[in-house]
């Protein structure tokens, strides 16, 4: 059995990003459920949070291929 251990490491590190994205959208859904009018305000904030959190997973993907 052969392969690259980097990819296993990347799989493990993606857990962090996954939890982060989950938290961002949980908060967004919570906010909209409590205050439906706030949806327009919250939506860009939620996607900005998604983008910032996802950056970690993207850096991990790059390093998994580069290193």
């Amino acid at each position: 059995m052969e392969g690259n251990l980097n990819l296993v490491g990347y799989g493990l590190s993606a857990i962090g990003g996954a939890i982060g994205v989950g938290l961002v959208f949980a908060a967004y859904i919570n906010g909209v459920a409590r205050q439906p009018e706030a949806q327009r305000v919250l939506q860009p904030i939620a996607f900005l949070g998604l983008a910032l959190t996802e950056a970690l997973a993207i850096l991990g993907l790059v390093f998994a291929f580069v290193l």
Binding site: P44, F47, A55
Partner: protein, 266 residues
């Protein structure tokens, strides 16, 4: 199509598609590894599609819009209101609507190629296109900031106000790295990585089906149906992600421009 034909050809073992399968041979090659590739053709086609659609939609401007005009107007209204007005806001957003509008539809059409049979290749699954788009946005927001604040913009961006002086040696390098190095990198790689991953999943499912259906065991052949069901679900998810990434890319562009316009606000 080539990656789908490969596994059946070598019979015995299953070879998953690799990153190399993303680089299809050039249509009109010239020189070593250069040429007019499928991605270039798709980019040119996307410009034709977008121009054709919006010219057709806006040619007969009527007070009560027809179906096509309504579609074009709501597409424009979406970018203008929910990205431009809500993020950049105030008086200056109209200046940037053409940029945001062009970026959104260019990326949307180039991504959605991945979900259309026959095209079946998101242009941004080659990293060059994503680098160029993010580089363009990078130059734009720095230019916007420098034009409004002059050289002071660099200081405003890297030195957050209200931070005690003894923390500055730590904060300033972090701000430089996050604003000027990591920001364009993640901006381009986000688009590229999601498109590449989505394309790889579809290619993997396709080659998996082709491999399973060529087996002699009937039960193994039957499992290819399960792969087909799963692949169809993934295909739907990928189509959603393609639209979402176009939105996220444009949203981030708007946020960067907004940050440059209001660099002294925080």
């Amino acid at each position: 199509m080539t990656p789908l034909a490969l596994p059946a050809a070598d019979g015995g073992t299953f070879t998953p598609p690799t990153l190399e399968d993303m680089h299809l041979p050039a249509i009109f090659p010239w020189g070593e590894g250069e040429g007019f590739s499928k991605q270039m053709l798709l980019v040119l086609l996307s410009v034709v599609f977008i121009a054709w659609f919006f010219i057709a939609a806006s040619r007969k401007g009527q007070l009560v819009p027809g179906k096509l005009q309504f579609l074009g107007e709501s597409a424009y209204g979406f970018v203008r209101n929910s990205i431009g007005k809500d993020i950049i806001g105030g008086r200056d957003f109209m200046k940037f609507v053409p940029l945001l509008f062009a970026l959104f539809f260019f990326i949307l059409v180039n991504n959605i190629y991945g979900a259309i049979p026959f095209f079946q290749l998101p242009t941004m699954s080659h990293v060059g296109g994503a680098y160029f788009l993010a580089g363009f946005v990078y130059i734009t927001w720095i230019g916007v900031g420098l034009r409004k604040y002059g050289p002071r913009f660099i200081k405003l961006t890297i030195v957050p106000s209200g931070v005690p002086w003894f923390i500055l040696p730590i904060v300033v390098p972090i701000e430089i790295i996050s604003n000027f190095i990591v920001r364009p990198m993640t901006h381009s790689l986000r688009l590229f990585a999601t498109m590449l991953a989505g394309h790889l999943v579809v290619a993997l499912a396709g080659s998996g089906i082709a491999f399973l259906i060529a087996q002699e065991n009937v039960l193994l052949q039957g499992t290819s149906l399960l792969v087909l069901v799963g692949a169809t679900a993934m295909y739907g998810l990928e189509a959603l992600i393609m639209v979402l990434q176009a939105y996220v890319f444009t949203l981030l562009t708007a946020i960067y421009i907004q940050g440059a316009l209001h660099a002294d606000a925080h």
